[in-house]
Symmetry: C2
Subunit: 119 residues, 2 copies
């Protein structure tokens, strides 16, 4: 990677770290970490999700009880104020990162599009 690209990537990293979206997300994680109930609901929800995801990836059978269990864990997590705040901030951060990605990928998208148009 060229030095210029590297320098801009590092600037981007610093700007993301300094952004209010990131700082708020960090605070939301800290709030969850210091709240025993929220933290337990979070790790439970994450473990249930990870087990389901693993089964999906390996093509293993997913039982209706497991889907129900996952939905219940999600519902309990969303009912917790600290966790619903965390999830909302996660989603906002994801959108910011997707926007950055979309801008950075424009040159390649244009290249592919103009190549396909010649068919």
């Amino acid at each position: 990677m060229s030095n210029q690209l590297y320098a801009i990537a590092e600037q981007l990293e610093k700007a993301i770290r300094a952004s209010s979206d990131f700082q708020q997300l960090k605070q939301a994680y800290e709030a969850v970490r210091h709240d025993e109930t929220a933290y337990r609901l979070f790790t439970n929800f994450r473990d249930v999700q990870m087990r389901l995801h693993e089964k999906q990836m390996t093509g293993a059978e997913i039982l209706p009880e497991e889907v129900e269990h996952a939905q219940k864990a999600m519902m309990l997590a969303q009912q917790n104020a600290k966790l619903s705040q965390l999830m909302a901030l996660e989603q906002r951060m994801s959108m910011v990162l997707a926007d950055i990605q979309q801008i950075a990928m424009k040159p390649l998208e244009e290249l592919y599009r103009s190549f396909m148009e010649t068919e």
Copy 2:
């Protein structure tokens, strides 16, 4: 997204477009587009890949003949000098973009890691 993040994303876009990796990739696409044989091999290879990918996504059965056909299309494409050049430059560009992504994602990775470490 904050104005500062937006401005850096746009700088990144310009730097990618101006990079020698991108410029060489663009030239490689133009070389393929202006070479009838290379272009036909490329579109054939891409169509075969897309059909296989679609089958994988929908869980449809993939016949051994189709795998063979895809391997042959790949081999023919790789034997074409303009296409093997294009594929090598594609791979280099992907690596540059992955490096940028990795740098930009550091703040979030650190956040998740420090959260998990408290378990």
